[in-house]
Structure formats: structure tokens, C-alpha cells
């Protein structure tokens, strides 16, 4: 194959340039550049940004979850410290088990289908054909629409009595399915909508991953007689692994915290059939007339921990890959 030699060339020329020219100039300014104050000044805007917009909300969320913030305590600022009581109450609540299971189903099923369909479309669009750019653009529509629009549209389409989906099914002799109003099908309905929403994200990232796979690999493979199926499993899939991993990790984090689409379509109902941890947290805080901020924050922090665990799993897998 030709590409190992290609890679050696640029590296050799890099080295010769780097050693001679910049080293001389750098020495003169060394004192100023070495000063820790300058370093701090350059880092300050980023650090301030991170603290204000990331660290502070996180700290505040933990603070909310270990105090008993009733509405009154929230205003008067005298919430009692309760330690882990909120977490214990949340985990021992009868809502917790079903919500955890719903979250797992929602996330796993959404991710599997989003990834599979996104990858299929990405491979499909890899071969250029007339209007492929336009078509690919159209697949981004779910991403561009405001969620309130797509969520409401899905709930109309899935309406039990007047929805277009039921009327199409009816034409094939399938009776009325109460998509959003029966505890048996509500989860399926919101998962379908969420898969549709997540496909563009998977498509875009996987498609750009595909661009980085050198075409000569495919040329060599087809010379060796590999068909499209064999090319996919032996070249595309293994070489996309790093991109796939990060797509799935990001997808996982995004899907874990999905509130809007479920809230618009079912508000976590009926009978808690679509209450995920994120929905539960939102409902405690904003879904009733009486904001329960502390349990809501506790549920939110449980979600953060779950996301962290998967982030660590990802990093370990990546490190193992680098070491091997």
C-alpha cells in the first residue's frame, strides 16, 4: 500500500524547519513568556467563563440537593442542611425504579436506531450522485426545526382519534392505536420521535468520519475482489470506530437529558409510562404549582453521575486502544 510512505514525508520536513528558525527568536522573550502572571492572564477569560457558566451551576445544583429547599426556604435563603436525605428519598421513591428503567429503554433503543440509521445514510451519501447534497441537507431538517414544532407535529400525527399515522394504519385494516394515551405504547411513540430527531446528528458526524477514510483503501479492496458488504465490515466499520465511539458517547449524554420532546408529547404520562429521570427532575422542579427544587436537583445529579460513568468507560476504552 502507498500510504505509510506518504505519512513519513511531511514529518521529515517538519523537523528540519522547527529546529532552526523559531528557537532563536524565542530565547529573547523567554523572561516575559515564562512569567506565571502572563500565563494566568491568558487563561483568565477561559477560567472565569468555565467557573461562571459550568462550575457554579454544578456547585449550585449540588448545594440545592443537599439542602431542603422548599419555596419558602428558597426565597428566605434559610434552607436546612439535610445531607444525603434527598438522594435517599429519591432512590427509595416508587418512581425511581420505573424512571431508571424508562431512561435505559429510551436511551438504548434511541441510540441503537439513531446510530444504525445514521450510519446507513452516511454510507449511502458517501457515493455522490445527482442531488445527493440537497438530499443530505434535507435530512438535517429535524435538527433545524425548533423542538416545540417537531414535538407538536409528532403529537398531532400520533393522535389517537385524528392522527395521520392511525388513519394510514387504518387503511391497512389496523385498528386505532392509542400511541400517546396508552401506557403500553407511549414509550414507543416518544422513542420513534426521538430517533427521528437524532438521525441528523449521527449522519453528520459519521459522514465526516467517512471522509477521513482514504479512498485508496477501497480501491485496493475492490482490486482484491471485496464486495460492498465486505468493504463495509472490513474497512468502513473498523476505521470509523473512534468516530463511532464519540458519536455514541455524545448521543448518550444528549439522550439522557432529553426533556423537551417527551414533555411536549406526553409530559411523562400516561401513568408515568414515559417518565425518565430527566422528565422526573423537570416535573419536580417546574411541572407542578409547587417547585420541589431539592429532589429535582438530586435526580439531576444522579443523571450527571450516570453520564460521568459512561464518560470514564469511554476514556478507558480509548486509552486501551492507544496503548495497544
Amino acid at each position: 500500500m502507498s500510504f505509510p510512505t506518504l505519512r513519513e514525508h511531511p514529518r521529515a520536513s517538519d523537523d528540519t524547519v522547527a529546529v532552526t528558525v523559531p528557537a532563536a527568536g524565542r530565547r529573547r522573550r523567554a523572561r516575559l513568556e515564562g512569567s506565571p502572571w502572563v500565563a494566568a492572564a491568558f487563561a483568565a477569560p477561559l477560567v472565569i467563563y468555565l467557573v461562571v457558566f459550568y462550575l457554579w451551576p454544578l456547585v449550585r445544583s449540588i448545594d440545592l440537593s443537599i439542602h431542603d429547599y422548599t419555596v419558602r426556604a428558597f426565597v428566605q435563603g434559610d434552607a436546612a442542611f439535610v445531607g444525603l436525605d434527598n438522594y435517599i428519598a429519591v432512590i427509595s421513591s416508587p418512581t425511581f425504579g420505573p424512571a431508571l428503567a424508562n431512561t435505559a429503554i429510551f436511551v438504548v433503543v434511541s441510540l441503537v436506531f439513531q446510530y444504525a440509521i445514521g450510519l446507513g445514510l452516511a454510507v449511502f451519501f458517501r457515493s455522490h450522485f445527482p442531488l445527493s447534497g440537497l438530499l443530505r441537507g434535507l435530512f438535517l431538517v429535524p435538527w433545524l426545526l425548533p423542538l416545540i414544532v417537531s414535538g407538536s407535529t409528532w403529537s398531532w400525527m400520533l393522535n389517537s382519534d385524528n392522527g395521520i399515522i392511525n388513519s394510514v394504519l387504518g387503511a391497512f385494516g389496523i385498528g386505532q392505536i392509542n400511541w400517546l394515551t396508552s401506557p403500553d405504547t407511549a414509550m414507543t411513540a416518544v422513542v420513534i420521535a426521538n430517533i427521528w430527531l437524532g438521525i441528523p446528528f449521527n449522519l453528520v458526524i459519521l459522514y465526516s468520519g467517512l471522509q477521513n477514510i482514504p479512498t485508496d483503501l477501497y480501491e485496493a479492496a475492490s482490486l482484491d475482489g471485496a464486495g460492498p458488504w465486505r468493504q463495509f465490515w472490513s474497512i468502513t466499520f473498523p476505521l470509523l470506530r473512534p468516530v463511532s465511539a464519540i458519536t455514541l458517547l455524545l448521543g448518550l449524554v444528549y439522550t439522557l437529558k432529553v426533556v423537551d420532546i417527551i414533555w411536549i408529547m406526553t409530559r411523562g404520562g400516561p401513568a408515568d409510562a414515559t417518565t425518565t429521570l430527566a422528565i422526573w427532575s423537570y416535573r419536580e422542579a417546574f411541572g407542578t404549582g409547587q417547585p420541589d427544587l431539592s429532589p429535582a436537583a438530586a435526580v439531576g445529579n444522579v443523571l450527571i453521575v450516570i453520564a460521568l460513568v459512561f464518560g470514564l468507560v469511554y476514556l478507558r476504552a480509548q486509552r486501551r486502544q492507544e496503548n495497544s
Binding site: L64, L256, R267
Partner: protein, 418 residues
């Protein structure tokens, strides 16, 4: 720092933060405060549909001008307004005046952020007691209703006459059931309402709940079971569409406007829209189980004044509130919104003189009942959440009425600690 460690830290932080944004949003931001330049008074209301150049905004401004100050008005959406009010109180930047949905008054009052009408020197003696009740907590009054709306039963006169039903005959549940049976037999749809799992669902269910004689302190009473069974039977018999489980009140109205439904449970705010409908429509009071009008919950906003550090501001605040709550002011408000019945006898009389068609609504408002009244106060939202959950569980077939209401009652008891 070792680049690998840095990257690990960054990736872990990213994963955590992405989810943390959800939990963190409870922090939020506060709006403009009451400590604006002197001569400027801040006003929040839940009417973003009324822009800066609207009649409503002009009325607000006029009341400011009469009190010798400029009013800086900010409109939020109803749910956001309660959260904004709480956040501003925490920051000590409350506005001078807030117009807030009536069930939220006791929640805000309980935090100590609202001044009483006595503190402000406002006279509330003319206000109908059943309407003022939502603003009363432990014997103190924290606001004045600027108008009230409630629910009633709209009917499609064309559908009813085709089915041979006289709307005047519907005075109890049996008569309503009989009417629904006739309408169904005539091939039309019976009734639509909102059984959604939010406060709207409880709001729509309460007339049937109260109309059966049930009480919010006992969700699992036989009367409560009867009320939820009534709704469930309508679904089972096909009188009501299955979609009522996710219907908001707006969706209910959209369904009614298709002209296919005989009845729709909806509020005063649809009066104008009903008049413009392509079919003849009318409205009757919601029937109680054994006859008579069922008490429907009151809707509508209260005008409240948050506590200010500078108590000298109250004098002007009082003038602004008084300007909004004179009989002429009430009628003005009623006309601006087309869905507010004045909360005083005098205001109601003036409104009826201008607009006699609203008579059903005036008597519905007189029979109405505040959701937080019976001194439920801040317990109401907790009970209401369990009530709408139970209704959902029954309508979707997840539980029987008795199971669902038993579960709701024990959950409500543990939530309110009673």
C-alpha cells in the same frame, strides 16, 4: 499538566456538564428589579400576547401616569412568571406589582415575599368572597383579583337539535349522559375535555369532582370515585375521544371548533371565538351530579405587591393598584381581555349592562370556588398533582378508579404531611 490527564479531565467535565446544564437551570437569572430610578415602577404580568403598543399596555401606563410615575412593564409566560417572582424575591429585586395566576398567590405569600392588603391600605370589602379566597392565607389577604374566569359547558346547538336534545334539560349527570347517548346515536361525537397530566387537567376535572360532592382533603372518597368513573365511562362508551388524555384546553377548543362535538368543557376566554364559530353555539353551567350548577374552579390573575425594602414605595403602588381595581377599571379589564368577569357586584352589574350575553358566565363565576380555598393554600399544588395523576391512570386504563384514587390519597397525605 500531562496532556492525557488534561484530556481526561476535559472529557469527563464535558460529559458531566452537558447533563449538569439540566440541573443547573434551576439557578436561572433574575429580571429587572424594583430598585429602578425613582419615578419608575416595575410591573410584571403574564400577558406576553399584549405588546408594548396594545390597549392593555396603555391602560397600565395610564395608571402609572395617574399615580405620577412611569411604569416599566415586563410580560412573562404564566409558568415562567412564578419562577421569576421567586427568583427576584431571593435576590431582593422584586418588582413593585405582579399580576399572578390565583393558585400561585398562596405559594408566593407563604414565602413572605408579598405584602398584605392591610400593609398597603387597600380596601377589599367589595370583592366577592369566593373569588378573594384564593388570595387569603391564614386570615391575611395578599392580593386582589383583577377579574375572574371559570369553566362552563359549551354546546353546539346544531348538533344538539339534530339529535333532539334540549340544552336546558341538562341539569344533572343523568341528563348529560342521556344527551350524550342521543348525540352518539345520531352519529356525532359527544364531549371533549382536557384530562392532561398538568394543572389544566385538575382544573377541568374539579367541577365534576366537586359536583359529585367530593372534597380535596379526601381524594379516595366514594364521591371522588364516582366523578372519575363518569369520565372513564364516557371514554369507554365512545362519548369522549381517547385523545382527551393528552388534550390541553386549547386542543379541546380546536376539537370543538371542528363542529363534530356536541359539548366541550372550556372557559370564559373562548366567548369571542365561540361567537365566530361557523355553527350556532351556546353555553350552560356545568351540572352537578344531583342537579344544580357544580362549583367550577376560578381562574384569573391577582394583583399583588411584593415586599419592598423601601416602604415609601407602597403609597404609589397602592394608587396603581386602586386604579386597576375600580369598577370602571374592572369593566375595562374585562373588555380588554374579553374573558374576565369583574370580581365585585358593582363591576358585574356594569358589565352585564354592556354585555347581557355574559349572564351564564357571571353566575358561573359567582358559583365558582378557588382551588386554594378551604385554607388548602400551599397544599393545593401537591394534592392537585396527585389528582391529575390518578385521573390519567384511570383514563389510560392503567388502574381502576378506586386503586388510582387510593394511591393518590396516600401520596397526597405523605406530600402534605397530614
Amino acid at each position: 499538566m500531562n496532556p492525557k490527564v488534561l484530556r481526561i479531565a476535559a472529557a469527563v467535565a464535558t460529559a458531566g456538564i452537558a447533563v449538569g446544564a439540566l440541573a443547573g437551570c434551576s439557578g436561572g437569572t433574575a429580571g429587572t428589579g424594583g430598585d429602578a430610578a425613582s419615578g419608575t415602577y416595575t410591573w410584571w404580568d403574564p400577558y406576553p400576547q399584549h405588546a408594548e403598543d396594545s390597549d392593555w399596555a396603555k391602560r397600565v401606563q395610564d395608571c402609572g401616569t395617574q399615580a405620577g410615575v412611569t411604569i416599566q412593564r415586563t410580560a412573562y409566560d404564566t409558568t415562567a412568571l412564578t419562577n421569576q417572582a421567586l427568583l427576584s424575591a431571593q435576590d431582593g429585586t422584586s418588582p413593585d406589582v405582579i399580576l399572578i395566576d390565583n393558585p400561585a398567590v398562596s405559594t408566593l405569600a407563604d414565602t413572605g415575599m408579598l405584602s398584605t392588603t392591610d400593609d398597603l391600605g387597600l380596601d377589599t370589602s367589595a370583592i366577592d368572597e369566593n373569588l378573594l379566597a384564593a388570595g387569603v392565607l391564614d386570615g391575611k389577604t395578599y392580593g386582589i383579583p383583577i377579574g375572574a374566569n371559570t369553566l362552563a359547558l359549551y354546546y353546539n346547538a346544531d348538533v344538539l337539535s339534530a339529535a333532539g336534545v334540549d340544552p336546558a334539560s341538562i341539569t344533572d349527570w343523568d341528563a348529560l349522559d342521556a344527551a350524550l347517548a342521543k348525540v352518539s346515536a345520531a352519529g356525532k361525537k359527544g364531549i371533549t375535555f382536557s384530562g392532561i397530566n398538568t394543572e389544566e387537567g385538575s382544573f377541568q376535572f374539579l367541577p365534576w369532582f366537586w359536583g359529585a360532592g367530593a372534597d380535596l382533603t379526601d381524594l379516595s372518597s366514594p364521591e371522588a370515585v364516582e366523578a372519575v368513573t363518569l369520565w372513564k365511562d364516557w371514554l369507554d362508551k365512545g362519548y369522549a375521544p381517547n385523545s382527551v388524555i393528552t388534550n390541553s384546553q386549547n386542543t379541546v377548543w380546536e376539537e370543538f371548533l371542528t363542529g363534530d362535538f356536541a359539548f366541550a368543557e372550556n372557559g370564559t376566554w373562548q366567548v369571542d371565538s365561540a361567537a365566530k364559530a361557523p355553527f350556532a353555539s351556546g353555553v350552560i353551567e356545568l351540572p352537578a351530579k344531583d342537579g344544580g350548577a357544580a362549583p367550577a374552579p376560578t381562574g384569573g390573575e391577582f394583583i399583588v405587591a411584593p415586599v419592598q425594602k423601601d416602604t415609601a414605595r407602597y403609597e404609589t403602588t397602592r394608587k396603581i393598584i386602586e386604579c386597576m381595581t375600580t369598577p370602571e377599571g374592572f369593566v375595562d379589564t374585562a373588555n380588554t381581555f374579553a374573558y374576565y368577569i369583574p370580581p365585585t357586584a358593582e363591576g358585574q352589574k356594569d358589565l352585564l349592562a354592556e354585555n347581557p350575553d355574559l349572564e351564564t358566565w357571571v353566575s358561573a363565576v359567582q358559583a365558582a370556588k378557588g382551588r386554594t380555598s378551604d385554607n388548602l393554600g400551599t397544599d393545593y399544588p401537591l394534592i392537585s398533582e396527585q389528582l391529575w395523576t390518578a385521573v390519567q391512570n384511570v383514563l389510560s386504563g392503567a388502574q381502576t378508579p378506586q386503586q388510582a384514587l387510593d394511591a393518590a390519597q396516600s401520596a397526597a397525605q405523605s406530600a402534605t404531611g397530614k
